[in-house]
């Protein structure tokens, strides 16, 4: 059987908090092995879309198909099984502070991989080695820097050899060199693990460097207004909001939120 080229398919998704619509008419396909960027200004709903894709927030309407299965139509047990295909790097790393870095990476393996402790330890060393963090295995998150926490979070994200990796603002708070190294690492892991990657970010250098497809969410209209690789959007888009964003122009049309803020 030939596997479909599309790994995740988002179909007419609407996201809202109560009566407030965050995004609507969101549709895109995520190709196997691609790095897909979810772009847009602050407050446009990038992280909210990510949350609905990783099972933290159900969409109001629409479907998210993972490997052809309607994710949100499945029962909780099945959703948990699908989630084992996901690895997520949260914005702050989200390491569990009461555990060492090694224990953070080991926990998903101990919970789901049913392997003896020596095997888990070996795999933990490997995952930390892949992100250059093998020395920090016995340190607590409070004892390492922000960039190291990100890398440790990445090691935890790949703990179960997921085939889909989600990154929420991976470069946020990192210096340009650390950020570029993280980009290289993401590319290498994509090639090495054969993973498909969804990256939520507004860090343009990162997006231009690694993403090969993407969607641009608009906070004004609450829907996507452009689709394509960040480089293509930068070079060819004629949509003012996208042009302003991609060229770091200050003439971005004000959103409803910023308009409201100005009246306060």
């Amino acid at each position: 059987m030939v596997e479909s080229d599309t790994l995740i398919s988002v179909r007419d998704v609407e996201l809202s908090f109560g009566p407030k619509i965050i995004q609507q008419n969101v549709s895109f396909d995520l190709k196997r092995g691609s790095i897909f960027a979810v772009m847009g200004g602050s407050g446009c709903g990038k992280s909210t879309l990510l949350k609905s894709m990783i099972g933290l927030l159900p969409p109001t309407t629409g479907k998210i198909l993972v490997g052809g299965e309607d994710y949100w139509a499945q029962d909780e047990h099945r959703r948990t099984q699908i989630n084992h295909r996901f690895g997520v790097l949260f914005q702050s790393g989200a390491l569990w502070s009461s555990m060492t870095v090694g224990e953070n990476v080991a926990l998903p393996m101990e919970m789901f991989a049913s392997q003896p402790p020596d095997v888990v330890r070996k795999l933990v060393e490997l995952k930390l080695g892949l992100v250059g963090m093998e020395q920090a295995i016995d340190l607590f998150p409070s004892e390492i820097s922000g960039g190291m926490r990100k890398r440790a979070g990445l090691a935890r994200a790949i703990a179960l050899d997921p085939d889909i990796l989600f990154f929420d603002e991976p470069s946020a708070g990192l210096d340009p060199i650390t950020s570029a190294r993280l980009d290289d690492l993401i590319l290498t892991l994509r090639d090495g693990l054969g993973a498909t990657i969804v990256i939520v970010s507004h860090e343009l250098p990162s997006l231009f460097a690694i993403a090969d497809d993407g969607i641009f969410l608009d906070a004004n209209t609450h829907q996507p207004i452009a689709q394509g690789s960040p480089r293509d959007l930068r070079d060819h888009s004629t949509i003012p909001e996208v042009m302003a964003f991609m060229n770091r122009s200050s003439t971005i049309p004000p959103t409803d939120e910023t308009k409201a803020d100005q009246h306060v």
């Binding site: 502070s97 009461s98 392997q115 795999l123 080695g129 892949l130 992100v131 020395q135 290498t188 090495g192």
Partner: protein, 390 residues
């Protein structure tokens, strides 16, 4: 010609989902590691490989080469095996030729260090008894000084507040007053009512044996006014409000909110500590009075159902039995209990670490210090009252 040496584990036929296996053969430039099978974690792919697995290389051998033609599937466990093989080759004085590896595996292997550095250790230095004693003494003196300074600074802030010069936000004070006062009425009332009822019940059962049931009014009244209500209310507030203060301040510390205040030059004592300490110090005596009255009410309800006395008779007996000084004594104690709980909780919060676990530790520590401190202070008050003849 190739020669097979020590196949361990034995080679399985290359087939889908076959167990992972390796063998070492003699190649043109040195040993050749031949791997086959489905090399995945669930399939038992985490297989150790050490330098001892490589036999002494013949003269002229330069590298350990790889033959992965028999691999049907692989994941992290294969990379783990390759990493160990690479280290083993280095230890045997051989280069690791990774040309025969799949390209993704080569990329991942390139990320891994040739020799993993030993894990970093915590800065733990075992102290001897003398060092421990010295540390403890210095720590206690330092902590006493810090708490005293905080108390002084807060008192100074309160003085400024009286003159309308404090940087404390009135809104914060009102919120804290509300949380420490009216919000606590229910739990303080329920606990004191039950304590008063229990005292009356136990007292009546015992006093009945001596036909002295009427003295239960004195027992409940004096016990509540002098000791029980002040202590119980303080314990409730240490658990409820002291813990909350410590958790709140520790969370602010973790979120760098305290750092932001310091950078702006906003005194923490005025902005964070003063509303908390002031509100609990002011509310505790009032809660004590309320708790005492509710405790006496609890005793009254039980007494009415168990002894033959009119309601008015019970109240008159209580008023005659409990002197005003008992209330004044309890009132003063409650003020100090409240100040201590708030001060200790704030200090514990400020001293907390910056992780989520530290917030929990700070809250627990604030409650424990609060309760132990209250009991210790009550003992001091008892000695002082005895000396002063109160």
């Amino acid at each position: 010609m190739t020669q097979q040496t020590d196949p361990s584990p034995p080679i399985a036929p290359a087939a889908p989902a076959a167990r992972p296996a390796w063998s070492l053969q003699t190649g043109q430039h040195g040993p050749c590691l031949s791997v086959r099978g489905a090399w995945t974690v669930p399939n038992g792919g985490v297989i150790p490989f050490t330098a001892a697995d490589i036999p002494p290389p013949p003269p002229g051998a330069t590298c350990l080469s790889m033959d992965t033609a028999g691999i049907t599937e692989w994941d992290s466990s294969f990379i783990s095996f390759l990493w160990e093989a690479k280290q083993a080759a280095a230890n045997a004085g051989l280069a690791f030729a990774q040309d025969g590896l799949p390209a993704p595996a080569q990329r991942l292997l390139a990320l891994l260090p040739p020799n993993p550095a030993p894990p970093a250790r915590h800065n733990s230095h075992k102290q001897n008894l003398l060092e421990k004693t010295g540390d403890l003494t210095l720590g206690t003196l330092n902590e006493t000084g810090v708490v005293a300074y905080l108390a002084l600074d807060t008192t100074r802030g309160a003085m400024h507040a009286l003159h309308g010069k404090s940087r404390m936000r009135t809104k914060d004070l009102i919120t804290d007053l509300w949380n420490a006062g009216p919000n606590a009425l229910l739990i303080v009332g329920v606990v004191n009512f039950l304590i008063g009822a229990i005292l009356a019940f136990v007292g009546l059962v015992e006093l009945r044996r001596f036909a002295a049931e009427i003295y239960v009014t004195n027992l409940v009244g004096i016990a509540c006014a002098r000791e029980i209500s002040a202590i119980m209310t303080a314990i409730i507030m240490a658990g409820r409000t002291g813990g909350a203060y410590a958790a709140r301040i520790a969370t602010m510390l973790g979120n760098e909110e305290i750092d932001a205040l310091q950078v702006f030059g906003i005194p923490i004592s005025s902005y964070i500590l003063l509303p908390a300490i002031l509100s609990l110090s002011l509310m505790m005596p009032l809660l004590y009075l309320y708790g005492t009255l509710i405790g006496i009410l609890g005793g009254f309800v039980v007494s009415m159902s168990m002894m033959d006395v009119s309601p008015m008779g019970y109240w008159i007996s209580t008023v005659n039995g409990v002197e005003l000084k008992e209330f004044v004594f309890g009132f003063i104690k409650a003020f100090f209990f409240g100040s201590f709980i708030a001060l200790a909780a704030c200090r514990v919060g400020l001293k907390a670490g910056r992780s989520a676990a530290d917030v929990g530790i700070a809250a627990t520590r604030a409650v424990v210090i609060g309760i132990v401190g209250i009991i210790a202070m009550d003992a001091v008050f008892a000695v002082m009252a005895n000396a002063l003849g109160i």
